[in-house]
């Protein structure tokens, strides 16, 4: 082995006392702990073109962001689609995810929705039809509707918050669940406020 250099060794050098946490933030050396994660709903207005969904989902998987749900659909503007994403990350991760999303070219704007935003999810729950009256009674409690009824199974449609759907799924399970499909969250901000705006504050749909 050759190529060694001269100079004081590692242990003979002054050492700084500060340090950073895993998020690169300067911290009190005695404090720490892993930063807490937070659940956030992002609404992204995107160009309505092929491949956008693949770009968005690819971004989230290759940068290791944890997506809980992703919903996509058309908007009032034929050229635009809206993607609603729910995910859980520490604060810097949320910021990073938002900025990376904004970097994708087909993405027009990204907004994190406040807690009071309107959020809805839809589920279709297919259960056994052995006790149709009870299914119907339970459905009315959840404001749900039977959308398909056969000799063997009944499918009910239930809409609402994630918590309501969770509860409904559990409640209908008493009849014997055949299959379930859930849409993930669709969300809009309350009142006249726009969910997505361009960087200069104008409605992004213009």
């Amino acid at each position: 082995m050759t190529g060694g250099l001269q100079g004081p060794g590692p242990l003979d050098r002054p050492q700084p006392t500060g340090r950073r946490n895993s998020q690169g933030i300067r911290v009190d050396p005695d404090a720490e702990a892993d930063p807490e994660t937070r659940r956030a709903v992002l609404s992204a207005l995107v160009e309505h073109e092929p491949g956008v969904l693949a770009e968005v989902s690819g971004l989230f998987s290759r940068r290791q962001f944890n997506i809980e749900s992703l919903t996509v659909g058309p908007t009032e503007n034929d050229n635009r689609a809206r993607i609603t994403l729910v995910f859980e990350e520490p604060e810097p991760g949320l910021e990073q995810a938002k900025k990376q999303l904004e970097k994708l070219l087909p993405v027009v704007s990204v907004t994190e929705l406040p807690d009071d935003a309107t959020r809805r999810e839809l589920a279709l729950i297919k259960v056994s039809a052995t006790r149709p009256d009870e299914v119907s009674a339970l459905a009315s409690m959840y404001d749900a509707q039977a959308v398909d009824a056969g000799r063997e199974t009944i499918t009910v449609e239930v809409t609402g918050s994630k918590q309501k759907i969770d509860a409904a799924v559990e409640a209908f399970d008493r009849f014997g669940t055949h299959e379930i499909v859930r849409t993930g969250i669709a969300a809009l901000s309350r009142g006249a406020e726009y969910t997505a705006t361009t960087p200069d504050g104008a409605p992004a749909d213009d």
């Binding site: 250099l5 950073r20 690169g24 990073q96």
Partner: protein, 599 residues
């Protein structure tokens, strides 16, 4: 190669050399040779953007574009031996010229062979555009011959890519891809060109190239943030500038130099930032990171205000995050908001163009930080941790000596390209860089074999009086040696210096340090004799074993007007130091293998 249609086209070019067609207006071009097909429109978009060179390889699905190129007197195409070479050459062209390099290839394997170079350009934010042929639209999705989902494959490694779907708009797609590649943070873009689109008739000239409306490139940073940052810099006791590749890509070296010199702030660069600040200046601490200088790593560890400009705080620079500049308030200037606080939290984020933001800071700062003691400390570290080496007569040639000899024999503006490995580190450590766009290397991706095709791209972008020196290792050069045929065909003045230690030396060094000296698959004594191989290609070949042959051989190689390869048989046991072990603390760099064992 000489009988290929495109080379004949080159001869026509020589005949009409006085006419600079890059100066023509789009209207002049349209009148001289109107667009008739989608492929013509692709070529016209390149012409209108001022492109002069393309690097590529022919093939089925891209043939219409090559056919259209046949008629262009402005564009010169260089057939490369392999598409990977084309993408590296285009990447290097982009680094040296500051304009997007252009590479093209056919569908399927042509496109996938470009991928390494595209990924390389993406990691290093180099302006580049790739044009790929694609099977006709009707066959897409059917697993047709030479079909690959190119936009799918390259989505994660391009700034953006386009799938051309309309012959009337394909020229606009190319124009947008070119504009995007070099606007804001540079990077590679790609346009996938189905053969039916390029073959289709159209008379539509491409419009003015523009970036999509959803693309934003900030220019100046927020004024209030600049003010706050200026106060922090004025108050610093131990300030240091960390200049990244963004300073060079943003053409901000003049602004950086003026700023650093006026306020006497020591400057460290990242590896891609090499050349942003003259390494022979008193304020220069050269570059920091895994194999950076001891003094740069000491300064970055102990500074109290770190002014990062155009850097993404890559792990090879920071070492372990916990111990990176642990006492510093971090100023982070970057044109890409997503880089702010990605790896290192920015206390003072400034989003904007490097040059514009440096000027904002320059104007806002009222007095230089009081840092005499700190500057003295930096000088002390410089003398404590010199980049010295010994050259005992009874030992084989030392690589550091070879690098310094070549630096000595060439001008300040000489361009250095490298492959990846130990030779790359020695070249960056022992060459004294003073000018931007003279260091051309594969940093983020770490692509072995980058050096030779990069030298070809750099040669075309460089001025005639700039020498192009390519450092390569034996293992690294073997990966792209076929591109020597291109340098010979084009009679390019390139000097390839092989630092041949008969190992993939960086792996061998790590095996000695971390794998108990078990040299699994790292021994390369089976490599060909590179001097003879060079001669077989038609280049000049030299082999050097002793110190007293070094200077004369370098002189002979530099004098030769064409490509030459010098095979320097260096000490096979030579190692690269200083070294911060992966994830280690920058301030705890090892100066030798023995110190590495203590860490």
């Amino acid at each position: 190669m000489s009988d290929s249609p495109v080379s004949e086209m080159d001869e026509t070019n020589e005949a009409s050399e006085e006419i600079d067609r890059t100066e023509h207006s789009p209207e002049q071009r349209a009148e001289e040779r109107p667009v008739t097909t989608g492929a013509d429109s692709v070529v016209r978009a390149l012409e209108n953007a001022g492109v002069e060179y393309l690097f590529g390889v022919q093939g089925g699905a891209i043939m219409p574009v090559y056919d259209a190129l046949y008629d262009s007197e402005q564009l010169t195409h260089l057939t490369m031996a392999h598409e990977q070479g084309a993408s590296h050459a285009a990447d290097a062209y982009g680094i040296v010229a500051g304009e997007p390099g252009v590479c093209l290839a056919t569908s399927g394997p042509g496109a996938t062979n470009l991928v390494t170079g595209i990924a390389d350009a993406n990691m290093d934010s180099d302006p580049m555009i790739a044009l790929t042929g694609q099977v006709p639209t009707a066959f897409v999705g059917n697993d047709a011959f030479q079909e690959t989902d190119t936009t799918g494959v390259t989505d994660p490694i391009t700034k953006t890519n386009f799938f051309a779907s309309d012959p009337d708009e394909v020229g606009d797609d190319v124009g947008a891809a070119l504009a995007l590649a070099n606007t804001g943070r540079p990077g590679p873009t790609l346009v996938d060109l189905p053969k039916d689109i390029t073959n289709a008739e159209t008379d539509r000239e491409p419009g003015e190239p523009k970036t999509p409306d959803t693309f934003h490139a900030p220019e100046k940073a927020d004024e209030a943030a600049v003010e706050e940052t200026a106060r922090a810099i004025e108050a610093a006791d131990k300030p240091v500038i960390l200049a990244g590749g963004g300073v060079i890509k943003g053409d901000a070296t003049d602004e950086l130099r003026a700023f650093a010199k006026e306020y006497e702030i020591p400057v460290i660069t990242t590896m891609p930032g090499i050349g942003a600040f003259p390494e022979d200046h008193e304020l220069s601490l050269e570059w920091a990171g895994m194999h950076g200088t001891g003094f740069a790593n000491m300064a970055i560890t102990h500074c109290d205000v770190l002014i990062g400009i155009g850097t993404r705080f890559d792990d090879r620079l920071t070492g372990g995050i916990e111990t990176f500049a642990p006492e510093a308030k971090v100023v982070h200037v970057d044109i890409d908001p997503a880089e702010i606080s990605k790896n290192i939290h920015a206390d003072y984020p400034l989003i904007g163009d490097a040059g514009a933001v440096i000027e904002q800071l320059h104007e806002e700062i009222e007095f230089a930080p009081d840092a005499d003691e700190w500057r003295e400390q930096c000088q002390t570290w410089k003398s404590e941790y010199p980049m010295d080496y010994q050259t005992p007569d009874d030992e084989p040639l030392k690589p550091e000596f070879v690098v310094e000899a070549l630096d000595e024999a060439t001008s300040d503006r000489a361009i250095v390209t490298t492959g990846v490995g130990q030779h790359q580190m020695w070249a960056s450590q022992y060459w004294t860089f003073t000018e931007p766009r003279t260091w051309v290397s594969s940093h983020g991706l770490g692509t072995m074999g980058y050096g030779l095709p990069a030298a070809i791209g750099a040669r075309l972008a460089a001025d005639d009086d700039q020498e192009v020196i390519c450092f390569e290792g034996d293992g690294s050069l073997l990966m792209t040696i076929q591109e020597l045929s291109v340098a010979v065909r084009e009679n390019m003045d390139i000097t390839v210096a092989v630092l041949n230690n008969e190992y993939v030396g960086m792996v061998r060094q790590w095996q000695d340090a971390f794998f108990e000296g078990r040299h699994a698959a790292s021994e390369y004594s089976w490599c060909p004799e590179f001097d003879k191989l060079a001669e077989a290609f038609g280049a000049r070949g030299f082999a050097v074993d002793d110190y007293d042959e070094v200077a004369d051989t370098i002189e002979a190689a530099l004098e030769y007007d064409g490509p030459s390869v010098i095979d320097f048989h260096i000490d096979p046991r030579a190692n690269v130091y200083p070294m911060v072990p992966s994830g280690g603390a920058n301030g705890q760099f090892a100066l030798s293998e023995a110190q590495l064992e203590d860490l």
